[in-house]
């Protein structure tokens, strides 16, 4: 098990609207130094990261881990159509802005970070994957890590639903939620414990009145029902608030830290076939 302190959290996310929400306007309201000539996905990453870091002393070598299931899906699709269907040569800035780690670059630049910088994709467990790797990095090397889960909707929204395999009734969403982690911190907002993967998560946590449960979006409906059966604690479900997207576990964990509805949250994530990762957050 890896145990770290959570120094800060920011939960930014919303259910998708028929037209793209103007992220740049939101960013300019909170951040006076928003870079120009970046795409909406990068702006979304900056919006959450800035709010997580605001007012906190980040070490310059703080590691940056960005988990995203779909990355710059909209811009990449536009670039593909531009080049392959319309035969247009890409503009340099269009190409640069869909480099896998461009968002990480601009977050590091905005926050003055010079440590390691990684962008991770692991499907519907992308935030959890980034969190595991960030925690291992801090455990192995010390220091701090800023961990984000960032995904945006691609428009038109009907296409986005088709691509995600979601029906009309599903609430799709987008967001940029972040946790700031550190080793050996006595004064922190919450403590994070990453348990080793297990076959049967219910054998680890039976549930009690003070423990809340959240279920990762990579877990199918049948396994979710099985996990929730006989659970005696609360269920912390933020899907109506954030909508569904690959890295929305970041929103769930950050919201729990910020809102503190209970003492402890156990988040269950699908690690691999038949294996589960338990992520425990304890506040107070």
């Amino acid at each position: 098990m890896i145990e770290l302190g959570i120094l800060g959290a920011a939960a930014v996310g919303w259910p998708a609207q028929p037209e793209p929400r103007p992220v740049r306007d939101l960013l300019k309201q909170v951040c006076p130094r928003a870079p120009r000539r970046v795409n909406r996905y990068i702006e979304l990453a900056l919006l959450g990261a800035w709010q997580c870091a605001a007012g906190r002393a980040l070490q310059t070598d703080c590691a940056l881990w960005l988990g995203s299931g779909r990355g710059y899906a909209g811009d990449t699709a536009n670039l593909l159509e531009s080049v392959l269907i319309r035969g247009e040569a890409p503009m340099p800035v269009e190409f640069i802005n869909v480099s896998g780690n461009a968002a990480g670059f601009y977050v590091a630049q905005l926050l003055g970070l010079s440590g390691r910088n990684s962008t991770i994709a692991a499907g519907p467990a992308s935030f959890e994957a980034a969190l595991v790797l960030a925690a291992a990095g801090v455990a192995a090397r010390g220091g701090q890590a800023l961990v984000g889960g960032v995904d945006e909707c691609a428009y038109p929204l009907a296409h986005h639903r088709v691509r995600l395999g979601l029906g009309e009734e599903a609430v799709v969403g987008e967001g940029s939620s972040w946790l700031l982690l550190a080793a050996g911190q006595e004064e922190c907002e919450a403590r994070l414990r990453l348990h080793r993967p297990v076959d049967n998560p219910k054998a680890v946590f039976a549930g009690d009145g003070e423990t809340w449960l959240s279920v990762g979006s990579g877990i199918d409906a049948a396994a979710r029902r099985e996990l929730l059966a006989d659970w005696r604690g609360g269920v912390f479900d933020t899907s109506a608030e954030s909508g569904a997207y690959d890295s929305n576990a970041g929103f769930t964990l950050a919201r729990f830290v910020a809102s503190k509805p209970g003492r402890r949250l156990v988040h269950v994530s699908a690690e691999s076939a038949g294996r589960y990762r338990l992520i425990e957050v304890e506040v107070g």
Binding site: P90, R163, S272
Partner: protein, 373 residues
């Protein structure tokens, strides 16, 4: 005291071949061998790519390249089926499955690209893990040209802290028009060949391939002594010499290796004006007057973008295993701003550790320190 992390098995598929020893033999000869691209018309006459001929173009090209290299690495590692079931996969790529999306669109010109379901996910890593029976989780890394080396360092941390016993690290890059035309738009492609550190260099030659290695605890062979990954946020497309110095210095410090113990440097050496100048200045700052032999493998392997760091590591280890340091073919006159004269002929590999650089867009700088005992 825990034993150091080791490379337990490696494999590669690239323009120079699909067997490490055979690739080493070609690198020893040092004859650049550009292969004219015969895939779809690029409208970029005179530029060349390297590609392995054993795999067809198609929607599974990246998967098949990655699987081939990974299967060889697993076989050479000697991991049992039970150990494989607990092994995690770390896959780094710059373009991931963009080539597949291009093929999908090519066959459906009226479709919207956003409907290509796999675009941007971690599906490629999960698919490789599933094909090889790996059950310890899968992670896709996208850090431009340092993707695979970033994946290697993350895998090493997960093994080091006891979360997993073994990791399979894969780097893969396949031909795709977005990468080719994107780098062309930045005027970074050479029409005449890759000549790292030469005064007459005029750009990079894109390559294609995959590499894989299994890391874990073990006895004998190659060790991963340390490494560093750092952000250089001055310019999104150009790493600075200061950032490179910091990265190499941190890697050496984490490895516990003084610069004078470095037997040779595998440079990033892209053949572009900006990279080679900055890297040359950084190498001279780190090593001073005692600069060890320097070489770049990109004239032979092409610039395989997100796979390059791992592909060049596997090829470099194969060369040293064969007893030599590989040359940098095509080198002309020294560029005084870079100040580096890379090896122009193979020379015997001496004792010591090796520093391997890999820098990418987004200021993603990495350096590794490895040795063999």
């Amino acid at each position: 005291m825990t034993s150091p992390l080791r490379f337990l098995g490696a494999g590669l598929v690239c323009a120079a071949g699909d067997d490490p020893a055979a690739v080493a033999a070609k690198l020893r000869a040092g004859v650049p061998a550009p292969v004219e691209l015969t895939l779809p018309d690029l409208g970029l006459g005179g530029r060349f790519l390297y590609y392995p001929t054993a795999f067809p173009a198609g929607t599974e090209r990246a998967l098949r390249l990655a699987e081939a290299a990974a299967a060889d690495a697993l076989a050479r590692s000697g991991l049992s089926a039970e150990q494989r079931g607990r092994t995690a996969l770390f896959l780094g790529s710059s373009s991931m499955d963009v080539a597949s999306a291009e093929c999908w669109l090519h066959d459906r010109p009226q479709a919207q690209a956003v409907l290509f379901g796999q675009l941007g996910g971690g599906g490629l890593a999960a698919a490789v893990a599933a094909r090889l029976g790996l059950g310890g989780g899968s992670y896709g890394f996208s850090a431009a040209c340092s993707s695979a080396v970033t994946a290697l360092l993350a895998a090493a941390d997960l093994v080091a802290c006891g979360e997993i016993e073994h990791a399979l690290v894969v780097g893969v890059e396949t031909y795709n028009q977005i990468s080719l035309q994107g780098f062309n738009s930045l005027m970074l492609l050479s029409g005449s060949g890759c000549r790292p550190f030469s005064a007459c260099r005029d750009g990079m030659v894109l390559g294609e391939g995959a590499a894989a290695c299994v890391i874990g605890r073990g006895d004998g062979g190659w060790r991963l002594l340390g490494g560093a990954n750092r952000s250089d946020t001055g310019n999104v497309t150009r790493s600075s010499s200061a950032g490179m110095i910091d990265t190499m210095t941190e890697a050496l410090a984490r490895a516990g290796v003084a610069p004078e113990r470095i037997a040779a440097v595998k440079a990033h050496g892209t053949g572009t004006a900006a990279n080679d100048e900055a890297e040359g200045q950084a190498l001279r700052a780190v090593f001073g007057d005692a600069l060890p032999p320097v070489s770049s493998l990109k004239p032979m392997l092409g610039y395989t973008l997100g796979a390059s760091g791992l592909l060049e590591l596997v090829a470099w280890m194969a060369c040293v295993d064969a007893g030599f340091l590989p040359p940098t073919p095509g080198f002309g006159a020294v560029d005084p701003d870079a100040g580096i004269s890379p090896l122009t002929a193979a020379q015997p590999a001496g004792a010591g550790a090796y520093l391997l650089n890999c820098f990418g867009f987004g200021g993603n700088n990495t350096a590794l320190v490895v040795d063999r005992d």
